[in-house]
C-alpha cells in the first residue's frame, strides 16, 4: 500500500541502491576519468576559467559567511520554553548535516534536516519556519558548516519503506516534465560539461555536496529544494510541493549520488 501510495511500482526486492550507486559512479568515472572528489564538487566551475576565477575570489570572503554567523546565533538561542535545537538533534546538531536526508523509521518517510528543525520547533511550542528562505536557511548554513569536509553519507536501510522512498526519488529524478520533456538526467548526465544558454552544466555527482548554497541569483543562501523548484520552473514544469513526499524523496536519491564526496557546503554559485 505504501509502495503504491508514493507511486512506486517496483517491488522492494528489485531496488538495490548500492548497485545503483556503483553503476552511477562507473558512468561518471568514464565520462570524467581525470576527476577526483574536488573536481566533482567544483561542478560547473570546471568548465569556465573566468567563472572559476570569480568563484575563487568570492570564496576568499564568501557571502554566506553572514548567514552562517546568524544561523549559529539562531541555533543557540533558546525557545520560549528554555530548550534549544541541540536538545532535539543527534550530537547536538553539530557535524550531522552531511548525513541528511535520513529515513525515519517511526514515520516511514524521508526526513530532511529542514524537517528536523521544524519538528523541533513544534515540539517546543514554536511555529515552523519557512522552508526556502529566511531564518531556516541560515540555520541550515550553520549546520552545514559544522559538517564541512565530512563525506556525504546518505543511507538507505533495508526497510521496504526506505527502499520505496529511494525508488520514488529515483523515479522523480528520471521523469520527464514540462513542454520540452526534460528530466534531471538530460542536463546533468548526458550534457554535463556542456552549456544551456549561458550556464555550464554540472555533473550530477557532486552537486548536492554544495548545498545549502548562496546563489548570486537569490542574493541569499538556499536549500537544494529551492534549486530543484527553480530548475523545474525553468523548463516549464510545475514542481512538486517543496517539503512534500516527492521532493523529499528526490533529495534523498539525488544527495546519495554524492555519497563519499566531502561535504562542501555552504558554497557559492551563480
Amino acid at each position: 500500500m505504501l509502495l503504491l501510495d508514493i507511486g512506486c511500482t517496483a517491488a522492494a526486492a528489485d531496488v538495490d541502491p548500492d548497485a545503483d550507486l556503483k553503476a552511477y559512479r562507473a558512468y561518471f568515472k568514464e565520462r570524467f576519468p581525470h576527476y577526483g572528489p574536488e573536481e566533482f564538487n567544483l561542478g560547473m566551475y570546471n568548465y569556465n576559467d573566468d567563472k572559476r576565477a570569480q568563484w575563487e575570489a568570492i570564496m576568499e570572503f564568501p557571502p554566506f559567511g553572514m548567514a552562517v554567523d546568524r544561523g549559529e546565533q539562531l541555533f543557540n538561542t533558546p525557545f520560549n520554553n528554555g530548550k534549544t535545537y541541540a536538545g532535539c538533534l543527534d550530537q547536538g546538531g553539530i557535524g550531522i548535516a552531511h548525513s541528511y536526508p535520513r529515513f525515519d523509521s517511526k514515520t516511514g518517510k524521508v526526513k530532511t534536516l529542514s524537517m528536523e528543525i521544524n519538528d523541533c520547533r513544534k515540539k517546543n511550542g514554536e511555529k515552523p519556519l519557512k522552508l526556502l528562505k529566511g531564518d531556516l536557511t541560515k540555520i541550515l548554513a550553520y549546520l552545514a558548516e559544522t559538517s564541512r569536509g565530512k563525506p556525504i553519507s546518505i543511507t538507505v536501510p533495508d526497510d521496504p519503506r526506505a527502499l520505496a522512498a529511494y525508488e520514488d526519488g529515483k523515479r522523480n529524478y528520471f521523469t520527464r516534465r514540462g513542454p520540452w520533456g526534460f528530466a534531471c538526467f538530460n542536463c546533468h548526465w548526458e550534457s554535463a560539461g556542456k552549456r544551456i544558454g549561458p550556464s555550464e552544466l554540472s555533473p550530477a555527482m557532486g552537486q548536492a555536496s554544495n548545498f545549502p548554497s548562496y546563489r548570486s541569483k537569490w542574493g541569499a543562501v538556499g536549500p537544494i529544494q529551492r534549486r530543484y523548484k527553480g530548475c523545474m520552473l525553468n523548463y516549464g514544469a510545475k514542481p512538486p510541493k517543496v517539503g512534500g513526499t516527492s521532493m523529499n524523496n528526490l533529495e534523498y536519491f539525488h544527495r546519495r549520488l554524492s555519497n563519499g564526496l566531502p561535504s562542501n557546503a555552504p558554497n557559492n554559485r551563480p
Binding site: 552511477y24 523515479r171 528520471f174 520552473l233 510545475k238 516527492s246
Partner: protein, 129 residues
C-alpha cells in the same frame, strides 16, 4: 455685446468638446463589456451563449489541469493560459476567453498524458542501469 457673444460661443465650443471626450472616455473606461460585445457583433442571447461556452471551456481546462497536477505533471504555461482566460472572461472578452481556455485544455491533456506515461514507463537511460 459682441465680446460677450464671443465668450459665450467659446465656452459653448469647449463644453461641446468636453462632452465629446466625456462620452468617449466613459465608454472606454466603463463600457468595455458593451464595447467588446458590440464589436463582436453579438448581442442578447448569442452573447449569453458565448459567455456560457467560454465559462464551460474554462471549467473544463481547469479540470484537465487539476488532473495533470494530480500526477505532479502540470505545466506552467497552462496555468498562464487559464489565468489569461479568467481575466478575459471577467472583462467580457468571451471569444478570447474561449480561445485561451480551449488551448489550455489541450495543453493540460498533453501534460497529463506525459505524466501518466512517465509514471507507468519511467526508466533510467541504459548507461544509468
Amino acid at each position: 455685446m459682441a465680446s460677450g457673444n464671443l465668450e459665450m460661443k467659446t465656452v459653448l465650443f469647449f463644453l461641446v468638446i468636453l462632452s465629446m471626450f466625456a462620452s468617449t472616455g466613459c465608454s472606454l473606461l466603463t463600457g468595455d463589456v458593451r464595447q467588446t460585445e458590440e464589436n463582436s457583433g453579438l448581442t442578447g442571447k448569442a452573447a449569453e451563449q458565448t459567455r456560457e461556452e467560454a465559462r464551460q471551456s474554462l471549467e473544463a481546462a481547469m479540470a484537465a489541469q487539476n488532473r495533470a497536477d494530480s500526477l505532479e505533471g502540470g505545466w506552467i504555461s497552462t496555468d498562464k493560459l487559464i489565468n489569461k482566460a479568467k481575466a478575459a472572461l471577467a472583462r467580457g472578452d468571451h471569444a478570447l476567453a474561449l480561445k485561451l481556455a480551449k488551448k489550455a485544455k489541450v495543453e493540460a491533456e498533453l501534460a497529463y498524458k506525459q505524466a501518466k506515461h512517465e509514471r507507468d514507463h519511467w526508466l533510467p537511460p541504459p548507461y544509468a542501469r
